[in-house]
C-alpha cells in the first residue's frame, strides 16, 4: 500500500479516479477542515456543516471522472462544489424547513462539555453576525484567507480572480471589517 501522505494531489486524484477510496480519503483529510470552516461560517449549525462537508466530498468523488487537471486547480474545484452544495442546502432547507439529517453523527461522544459548546456556539453566532453585514465578496475573501487559511494565490483561484484583485479585495474587506468591529 503506498504512503498516501507522500503523494501530490494530482497523483492522489489519478489513483482515486481508478477507484481507490483511500487515495480520495487522503484528499479528504487534507482539505476537509478548510471546507468545513468555509461551510460552518455560513451555517448556524455545526452538525449541518459536518453533514454538508461529507456531502461535498461525495459530490466531488462522483464527478471526479470529469475533472481534468488542466482546467481549474483541485482546491478551486472543491470550493466551487462546496459553494454549490451550500446553495442547494439553502434551497432545500428553505423549501422543507427541515435540517439535514444528523442521525449518524456521534456528536455527544466528541463534545462532552456542554458549557464550552454553548460558549463556542455563542461566539460563532456573533462572528457570523459581523461577517454577514459585509458584502458577499468581502466575506468570501476573509473566510478563505483567514478561516480556510488559503494563500492569496489559492484564494484567487477559488474566487476566479487575479491575485492582485484578491489583494485589493482583501484590503477593502479588512477596512470594512475594522469599521464594523469599531461600531460594535
Amino acid at each position: 500500500m503506498p504512503n498516501w501522505q507522500d503523494l501530490e494531489d494530482i497523483q492522489l486524484i489519478a489513483i482515486a479516479k481508478n477507484g481507490e477510496a483511500e487515495a480520495f480519503g487522503e484528499l479528504y483529510e487534507r482539505y476537509a477542515e478548510s471546507i468545513f470552516r468555509f461551510l460552518y461560517v455560513r451555517l448556524s449549525n455545526r452538525l449541518d456543516a459536518e453533514d454538508l462537508t461529507a456531502e461535498v466530498f461525495m459530490r466531488v468523488w462522483r464527478s471526479l471522472s470529469g475533472y481534468r487537471e488542466q482546467g481549474i486547480p483541485f482546491l478551486a474545484y472543491l470550493f466551487r462544489i462546496a459553494r454549490n452544495a451550500l446553495i442547494d442546502h439553502y434551497r432545500s432547507s428553505g423549501r422543507s424547513g427541515e435540517k439535514v439529517s444528523i442521525d449518524d453523527s456521534p456528536v455527544q461522544d466528541l463534545h462532552p462539555d456542554a458549557g464550552e459548546a454553548a460558549m463556542t456556539s455563542l461566539e460563532h453566532q456573533e462572528i457570523r453576525e459581523v461577517l454577514n453585514q459585509l458584502r458577499d465578496d468581502y466575506r468570501t475573501v476573509l473566510v478563505l484567507r483567514f478561516l480556510s487559511e488559503l494563500t492569496p494565490v489559492e484564494t484567487a483561484q477559488v474566487m476566479g480572480r487575479s491575485p492582485g484583485a484578491v489583494r485589493v479585495l482583501q484590503h477593502r474587506a479588512l477596512t470594512a471589517l475594522r469599521n464594523l468591529i469599531e461600531g460594535t
Binding site: G25, R46, T53, F57, R62, S63, L110, F146, L147, H171
Partner: protein
C-alpha cells in the same frame, strides 16, 4: 494614487504573511514601514481579530478522522454498485495510444479521414443511429433528425417524429446512466423534454383540424409517455443524488404529457364515437328545447358536443307549443328535408360522426323549412320523420 494603493495592498499582504506565519510581530512589521503605520495598523488588527477567532470554526476533534472512514466506506459501497462499463474498440485503441503524442495525432487524422469517407458514402447516417451524446457521430444523428423534421410538412407527421425522437432520447438517457456518463445527462434530458413538448403541441394542432387523427395520435403518445414515465422513475432511483433532479424533471414533463393527452382525448371523444342513435330521441326531455324562438340553444348539455349548435336550430320549434317540444326538437335534426334527401345516407350505414349527418351546410335555410312542417297539426316537423331516416327505423 493608484500605484500607491497597489503598494499598500502588497505591503499589507507582506505584513500579514509575516505576522500570521509567526515570523514577525505587529510592531516589527509596522516598523518596516514607518510612514504607513496609520494605514496598516487598523487593517492588521482587523485581520488578527478574525484570525484569533478561527478556532471557533474548527471541526470537532476526531471528526475528520471519523468522517474519513465513513466517506471511504460509502465510496466502496458505490463502487461495488457501479456497473462495469464496456469499452468500445475505438476507446481501447485510443487508450493504447495514450502518452504517444505523434501516434495520437496520427490516429486522430485517421479517424477524421474515416469519418469523411463514411460521410461520402452516406453510411454515416446509419452508423450514427446507435450513438449517444458524447459519441463522435452523435451530432450526425441529431442533424439527421432535424432534416427529417424539416422535410415533414404535416403536423401529424411531425408529432409522430417528435414522439419517436423522444423515445431515442430516453434510450440515450438510459445508456448514459448505465455507463455513468453524467456529463451529458442534463442536455439529453432537456432535449427529451423539448421533444415531448413539441409532440404534445403538435397533437393539439392536429386536434383543431382532424379529431379522429388527433384521437389516434393522442392515444399513441399517451401510451408511449406512460411507458417512459415508468422507465424514468426507475432511472431516478438509479442515478446519484445530485443527478436525481434532472431525471425527476423529465418524469414531471412525461406525466404532464400523459395528462395533456388524456384531457385532449376526453375533449374529442364524444364527437368521434357517438352516432345517431335511438337514445337521442328517447332521452330527450321536454325541457330541452322549450323556447319557441329561432335562436334556440342546443338543448341538453349532453347533446351540446354531439350535435353542432346550428343543427338543433329546428324550424318546427318556431311554431311548436311547449308541450310538443319534446318530440319536435330532438327529431328535427334527423328529419329529412327536401334538400337533404338525395345526399343523406340511410341511418343503418352506421355513420360514425353525427357531425357528418347534420352538417350546418346541409341544413335548409329557415325560410324553406318553416314552410314544410306543420306542427300544430301533427306535433311533428315533417310528415314522414322517422320511417325513412331515423336510425331506429332501419334494421
Amino acid at each position: 494614487m493608484a500605484s500607491a494603493h497597489k503598494d499598500i495592498e502588497k505591503i499589507l499582504q507582506t505584513c500579514l504573511d509575516s505576522i500570521l506565519s509567526g515570523q514577525g510581530t505587529v510592531e516589527s512589521a509596522l516598523a518596516s514601514y514607518p510612514g504607513l503605520e496609520e494605514v496598516l495598523r487598523p487593517q492588521i488588527e482587523a485581520a488578527l481579530w478574525i484570525d484569533a477567532r478561527k478556532k471557533i470554526f474548527d471541526a470537532r476533534p476526531g471528526f475528520i478522522t471519523e468522517s474519513r472512514k465513513r466517506l471511504e466506506s460509502q465510496i466502496q459501497k458505490e463502487l461495488s454498485k457501479r456497473p462495469v462499463r464496456p469499452e468500445s474498440p475505438i476507446h481501447r485503441f485510443l487508450e493504447s495510444l495514450q502518452g504517444r503524442k505523434v501516434a495520437l495525432q496520427f490516429s486522430l487524422v485517421l479517424i477524421m479521414l474515416a469519418v469523411f469517407i463514411l460521410v461520402s458514402v452516406s453510411g454515416v447516417a446509419y452508423a450514427s443511429r446507435e450513438t449517444v451524446p458524447g459519441d463522435i457521430l452523435y451530432p450526425v444523428k441529431i442533424a439527421q433528425e432535424r432534416v427529417e423534421v424539416t422535410f415533414t410538412f404535416s403536423d401529424k407527421g411531425k408529432a409522430q417524429l417528435y414522439t419517436s425522437f423522444a423515445q431515442h432520447r430516453l434510450l440515450e438517457i438510459q445508456v448514459l446512466v448505465l455507463e455513468g456518463r453524467y456529463e451529458f445527462l442534463q442536455s439529453t434530458v432537456r432535449q427529451y423534454e423539448n421533444q415531448i413538448g413539441q409532440a404534445v403541441r403538435l397533437v393539439n394542432e392536429v386536434a383543431r383540424h382532424n379529431s379522429s387523427e388527433a384521437q389516434a395520435l393522442a392515444t399513441q403518445l399517451e401510451e408511449v409517455l406512460s411507458g417512459q414515465t415508468m422507465v424514468l422513475e426507475i432511472l431516478s432511483k438509479a442515478v446519484p443524488q445530485n443527478r436525481k433532479g434532472e431525471i425527476d424533471n423529465a418524469v414531471d414533463v412525461s406525466k404532464n404529457g400523459v395528462m395533456a393527452m388524456q384531457e385532449l382525448r376526453s375533449s374529442i371523444t364524444p364527437l368521434s364515437t357517438i352516432t345517431p342513435s335511438p337514445s337521442l330521441t328517447n332521452t330527450a326531455t321536454p325541457t330541452a328545447t322549450p323556447t319557441p324562438t329561432p335562436s334556440i340553444s342546443p338543448s341538453p348539455p349532453g347533446f351540446t358536443r354531439t350535435l353542432p349548435a346550428r343543427a338543433t336550430v329546428s324550424p318546427p320549434s318556431l311554431t311548436a307549443s311547449p308541450s310538443a317540444a319534446a318530440t319536435i326538437s330532438v327529431q328535427i335534426p334527423l328529419t329529412p328535408t327536401p334538400s337533404l334527401k338525395p345526399t343523406q345516407p340511410p341511418a343503418k350505414t352506421d355513420i360514425p360522426l353525427p357531425v357528418a349527418t347534420v352538417r350546418p351546410s346541409d341544413t335548409p335555410e329557415p325560410i324553406k323549412t318553416q314552410k314544410t312542417p306543420k306542427p300544430t297539426n301533427t306535433h311533428r316537423p315533417t310528415p314522414q320523420p322517422t320511417n325513412t331516416h331515423h336510425p331506429t327505423s332501419e334494421p
